[in-house]
């Protein structure tokens, strides 16, 4: 098949076409630029649906593979190797979905240097797609690092007052971890004679080395997740990033870390994963509780949501290192859920910020009366985020906790049910901080922000159609996953089952 007509290649690099078109559009024509970017990302989303339509959900292995030798010198064997399987398909779809939504959210929020913004955004999409699709470690690393650059500029140019500090902090932290991962990748590539992930999964590495390699990979991924205590770049990045940046950061970029654990750490180093599972679960549990407690004390709503990510991604990590199918499937679903609900929360916070120019919770209050549609959407999103049964968050958190509890009994890898039990406290704490935010914004007496806005002109308005349109797909998915998650689980089940089977055969050994 022709190189460029392969579905995954097309899916990954199609945004470049949009960039090419945008290069010929003068910077003054902002709407044309926006539309080009939007249409490009929508076409990309269409491609992702196309990929989904030909995806065989009964096959646990890589599908739609595009594999070519790329750099083969001096015994190095680096391939251009894309493929998709049950572990990544949902994340690919999520990326393709969130990008147009984020672009739509910037319609009025980004007015300066629209051209650059859109180009960076589409570049970011290329990078994210590449990370989820690359099956060659070297190629993965390139995409992984590549995502940093556009994000760095998105935070650094269009961000808030402390944007440069935040951008550099974001860049430095992630880079620092990546370097260790690069070393481990090189070690693997030289020792295994190939960088191709499926070929490397078979090779035998002695447990001590495995542990070192595991830790090197984990360093990169744990910073990205971010796991406690490596999270301190997150609030800065989130608070300073523009809305669309926050959405992509929370929705997709953080998932790169958890996905990395799932795709590389666990299959490549099964013994080390089993050994490290209690420690990872411990950090995850601390993250859940800590993130939830710290969220509650925040006064800035974006920061509150940012810290809640620490808590939510703790759940994902706990599920992954439960190393059983409930935990892992729950974790993958929770990655999607977090992308949807936290992404939606950031969008909503961005929408209100666009009108009020403040995120201080204490000046809000009683907005339900003025903005009923906004309040209702925010309520649904908040409830999804705090895991109300019937909405998506519950399905993920419940299966994760169930898996983690199971991994703690009957000789499972965690060895104790306390991880799950204490993490379950996070559900109470989630209710506390989410309801605190919701109450501070929408309930109670009318906040001073209403008058502040009024004094500057028109006063607060409810959501307009464009804003509602950005939320509708997310809301549909929130209900769909909550009520009927079967199609989503079906997509990932064979791949996860295979992974779990491999793990348990290792555990037997």
């Amino acid at each position: 098949m022709n190189f460029f007509l392969q579905p995954l290649t097309l899916l990954t690099f199609f945004p470049l076409v949009g960039i090419l078109v945008m290069l010929f559009i003068p910077r003054e024509q902002k709407d044309a630029l926006r539309w080009t970017a939007l249409i490009t990302s929508l076409v990309t989303f269409g491609f992702s649906l196309l990929v989904l339509s030909v995806f065989n959900s009964f096959d646990p292995d890589l599908q739609l593979v595009a594999q070519y030798d790329w750099i083969t010198v001096a015994g190095w064997n680096i391939q251009y190797f894309l493929g998709v399987d049950g572990l990544s398909i949902l994340l690919v779809l999520l990326t393709a979905l969130l990008t147009p939504i984020s672009i739509l959210s910037t319609w009025t929020a980004v007015e300066e240097r629209v051209k650059d913004f859109m180009i960076f955004f589409l570049l970011l999409e290329v990078g994210m797609m590449g990370v989820f699709l690359a099956q060659d470690l070297f190629l993965f690393y390139i995409f992984w690092e590549f995502t940093l650059v556009p994000m760095y500029f998105i935070i650094g140019i269009w961000g808030g007052p402390r944007r440069v500090y935040a951008a550099i902090k974001f860049f430095l932290y992630t880079m620092a971890g990546s370097i260790l991962m690069l070393l481990a990748i090189l070690w693997l590539g030289i020792a295994g004679g190939t960088f191709s992930l499926p070929d490397l999964i078979g090779i035998n590495i002695d447990p001590a080395t495995q542990m070192w390699l595991f830790l090197a990979f984990a360093a990169a991924f744990a910073i990205k997740v971010p796991m406690w205590p490596l999270h301190s770049w997150l609030p800065d990045a989130h608070v300073e990033a523009p809305t669309a940046g926050s959405v992509i950061l929370a929705g997709v970029l953080l998932k790169l870390g958890t996905y990395g654990f799932l795709r590389f750490n666990i299959p490549l180093f099964p013994e080390a994963s089993v050994q490290a599972a209690p420690w990872m679960a411990l950090l995850a549990t601390i993250g859940i509780i800590y993130g939830a407690a710290v969220s509650y004390a925040q006064k800035d709503m974006k920061k509150l949501v940012a810290y809640s990510s620490v808590s939510h991604l703790g759940f994902v990590m706990l599920g992954l290192f439960a190393l059983n199918s409930q935990g892992m499937q729950g974790a993958i679903l929770q990655m999607i859920n977090h992308g949807l609900s936290t992404g939606a929360l950031f969008l909503l916070v961005g929408m209100i910020y666009e009108q009020t120019h403040t995120r201080e919770l204490k000046v809000y209050g009683g907005l339900w009366k003025i903005m009923p549609v906004f309040a209702t959407i925010m309520l649904i999103t908040s409830l999804s985020s705090m895991g109300l049964p019937g909405l998506n968050g519950f399905v993920g958190e419940f299966t994760i906790l169930l898996g983690a509890w199971g991994a703690g009994t009957n000789g499972g890898p965690l060895g104790s049910v306390w991880y799950a039990a204490i993490s379950a406290l996070g559900i109470i704490m989630a209710a506390v901080y989410i309801l605190f935010m919701f109450q501070s914004m929408f309930l109670g007496p009318q906040g001073e922000v209403v008058d502040q806005v009024k004094s500057h002109g028109r006063g607060l308005r409810d959501l307009n159609w464009r804003e509602i349109a950005t939320m509708v797909p997310l809301l549909i998915l929130i209900f769909w996953i909550g009520l009927y998650p079967k199609p989503f689980f079906d997509l990932m089940a064979p791949a996860v089952d295979q992974l779990v089977a491999n793990l348990s055969s290792v555990a037997m050994r």
Binding site: S325, L401, L402, W405, L425
Partner: protein, 722 residues
């Protein structure tokens, strides 16, 4: 777990409509509600749609029950769709219709529909008193959502589907308590109502935490969430496991059914409009815990220790809450504590294994407590009407009345809040008195409800309470005495309330000018009153009249049919009469006058103050749980996370290490250690490199060419000399 569609004869295919019917009503009001409200008949349309939706659920319940009875109580399941299926975890949306769930369905939709109808009248006035007519449809949307969630709760075939409803009703409770989210109980602008809403949700979540953990243990020890499979596996399981499950489930029950120690949200929940208090916080939602224990009867009967703890929790709650009810002035707060107390009775009953008695009391309580709350609402509105009437007559015209201009009906209820020096509390019993003359219908139905609650023969409450006491007297003397004392207090505080509200002279002008409620409100009251009188016939303690017992036998394996026991019934009745007499002595003989101190307070002194302040439990929780949590999270956020991790750790450890490396290796001049040390570190490296490298970059092409040549020479030289 896939069951074939069992027992497919009959109306079981309608089971999903228990949930869908209210949801359809919800959607209609959600989409067209605002449009309806622009029409002159809008409020009726909204209310009728919602009532019809709830009524449809009632019809479905009746049809299901009749099919069930035609099938001799054989449990029927209706599989709708899969839910979560991973490995051994098999959860689906399956409705379960058996004799237990059918009773709950009937109560929920039946009482629910009556309350919907009542609410049309109540909310029409409430939204005008509170000056936001546009909020009317939202109330009915929530009510319908509540019915749907409650149906999921009782009709689910697994613990997890039950949990969906369990949290769902918690959400509705949150929304409805916070219905007037910008006000407080007295209609002043405040955070108080929304605080109550959040409190209810969070406290319920604490209970749900217990439920979830119980679920995890259940799944990994017993292998399923489906009721029958769990019960089957439980028989062979270790008792310790079952004990853990049942006790953790009790935590959930304590949250939802407002038992000690998690009852604190229920009194605050009275912030919701009165129909909500009746429907959710008295008749249905709060009884979910009782339903859960009854549903899990086969687990509880396996572990007597757990049963005893449950019974004890219930009994202590019953007694404790009854004492607090004595010291309350707010008409709804009295009923709220009474509800907690009666829930304690039910929990004690199911804890003792008297599941039929517990369910019986649940049903009758739904009748008479809904009746009491609704009539209390009628009283409050009556006083409110009087208050507004007064304000109108004395010329205190509200000026802001934009929305309702030109409608005759609303002219009566102009807002007068701001004109008053202090806020008038229409729910305070000290402002009432003598209302049997102004509101005769309400008075009579209230009296019936109160007598039923107090346990006077032959009202419904007598029979159900008697059955609980009887069971307790046979097995658990301690609990029997606690419950008996609670029953005595119940009769006392109800007597106190009746005397204070309906007898004597009006203590406030508003009470004197109170007006009776319209038919849309009083007719549901009369229906409920009839049920409160006759409800006892469901399960009379005489041979051949154990209807409810026999019906529940289809679901519960062993059902004790107790026969009438004269001493127990006698003691209870005598005590109730004595209590009412005592309340007459204190409150009835010489009625309270305006501004006078409560006579009981004179006698009990500081004990009464403690009662009035609910034994200071809220303050205790605030000091022990809420404040420390806030402090801890504040500390974590500010000190640990921000100053330590974010600033100190970042600047000193991470940036410091970075700088140190760059200093050692590359540059000894860089010494700026500002906040942006990281940037500086990076910049320093680059700077050093560039300073060095710029020497080479002299811009002369020829020198570059020279360096190329030198490079070539070096490489070639190396290759040759190698």
């Amino acid at each position: 777990m896939h069951f074939a569609q069992e027992a497919s004869t009959g109306f079981f295919f309608l089971a999903p409509w228990l949930v869908f019917a209210p949801l359809v009503g919800l959607l209609i009001n959600l989409i067209f509600g605002q449009w309806f409200m622009k029409q002159p008949w809008g409020e009726n349309a909204v209310g009728i749609v919602a009532s019809l939706a709830s009524g449809a659920a009632f019809v479905v319940s009746i049809l299901l029950t009749s099919s069930l009875s035609a099938n001799h109580g054989e449990v029927a399941r209706w599989y709708l769709a899969d839910w979560i299926q991973i490995g051994e975890l098999r959860l689906d949306w399956t409705f379960r219709i058996d004799s237990l769930s059918s009773i709950m369905m009937l109560v929920i939709s039946g009482v629910g529909t009556l309350i919907h109808i009542y609410a049309i009248g109540y909310m029409r006035e409430d939204v005008r008193f509170k000056n936001d007519v546009g909020r009317f449809p939202r109330f009915f949307i929530y009510l319908n959502l509540f019915i749907a969630m409650m149906m999921i709760l009782v009709a689910g075939d697994s613990y997890m589907m039950l949990f969906v409803g369990w949290e769902g009703v918690g959400l509705c409770s949150f929304l409805l308590i916070g219905f007037w989210y910008e006000l407080d109980l007295l209609g002043r602008t405040s955070w108080s109502n929304s605080n109550a809403a959040v409190k209810a949700f969070v406290v319920n979540r604490i209970g749900d935490f217990g439920f979830l953990i119980a679920g995890f243990i259940m799944f990994w020890a017993l292998g399923s969430f489906q009721f029958d499979e769990v019960f089957e596996a439980a028989e062979g399981a270790a008792p310790g496991v079952i004990l853990a499950i049942t006790l953790l489930m009790l935590v959930g029950v304590a949250g939802k059914s407002a038992q000690i120690p998690l009852y604190v949200w229920l009194p605050d929940a009275m912030a919701g409009p009165t129909p909500v208090s009746a429907l959710i916080h008295a008749a249905t939602m709060v009884t979910a815990g009782v339903y859960l224990i009854t549903r899990s009867a086969e687990l509880y009967t396996l572990v007597p220790q757990a049963q005893y703890i449950v019974a004890l929790t219930g009994a202590i709650t019953a007694l404790f809450a009854a004492t607090i009810a004595v010291g309350q002035y707010d008409i709804k707060k009295v009923l709220a504590y009474s509800t907690i107390s009666q829930l304690g009775f039910m929990v004690a009953a199911v804890g003792m294994g008297a599941f039929v008695a517990g369910m019986f009391h649940l049903v009758t309580h739904a009748f008479f407590k809904a009746l009491l709350f609704l009539s209390a609402g009628s009283v409050i509105l009556g006083v409110e009407r009087g208050h507004h009437h007064l304000a109108h007559a004395s010329g205190h015209h509200g000026s802001k009345h934009g929305k309702n201009k030109g409608k005759k009906k609303e002219q009566r209820h102009e807002p007068v809040h701001e004109e008053e020096g202090e806020h008038f509390d229409a729910g305070d019993m000290r402002n009432m008195g003598g209302m049997r003359k102004t509101m005769p219908i309400t008075y009579w139905v209230y009296l019936i409800g109160a007598l039923a609650l107090a346990g006077i023969v032959p009202f419904a409450g007598f029979w159900s309470k008697d059955e609980i006491l009887l069971d307790a007297s046979l097995h658990y003397p301690l609990i029997y005495w606690m419950l008996t004392v609670a029953a005595f207090l119940t009769a006392f505080y109800m007597g106190r309330q009746i005397w204070m509200v309906f007898f004597g002279e009006p203590r406030h002008e508003a009470a004197a000018h109170a007006e009776e409620s319209p038919g849309v409100m009083t007719i549901p009251l009369m229906v409920l009153a009839a049920l409160s009188v006759l409800g006892g016939a469901l399960n009379l303690p005489f041979e051949g009249f154990h209807n409810l017992g026999h019906w529940l036998e289809y679901t519960l394996r062993e059902v004790e049919s107790l026969s009438f026991n004269a001493p127990v019934a006698g003691i209870a009745t005598v005590l109730a009469v004595v209590a009412i007499y005592a309340s007459w002595l204190i409150y009835g003989r010489s009625p309270l006058r305006a501004g006078e101190v409560d006579p009981l307070k004179k006698r009990l002194g500081s004990v009464f103050t403690a009662l009035q302040n609910k034994w200071y439990i809220d303050e205790l929780y605030h000091a022990v749980v809420v404040t420390p949590y806030m402090k801890i999270s504040q500390f974590l956020a500010d000190v640990i996370d921000w100053r330590f991790w974010h600033d100190w750790f970042h600047e000193n450890v991470i940036v410091g290490t970075y700088n140190w490396i760059s200093h050692i290796g590359l540059n000894r001049y860089a010494d700026q250690r500002g906040i942006d040390a990281a940037a500086n570190g990076l910049a320093t490296v680059t700077q050093w490199l560039s300073v060095t490298l710029r020497q080479i970059q002299n811009g002369f092409v020829r020198s570059y060419a020279l360096s190329v040549l030198l490079g070539v020479v070096l490489i070639v030289g190396y290759l040759i000399l190698r």
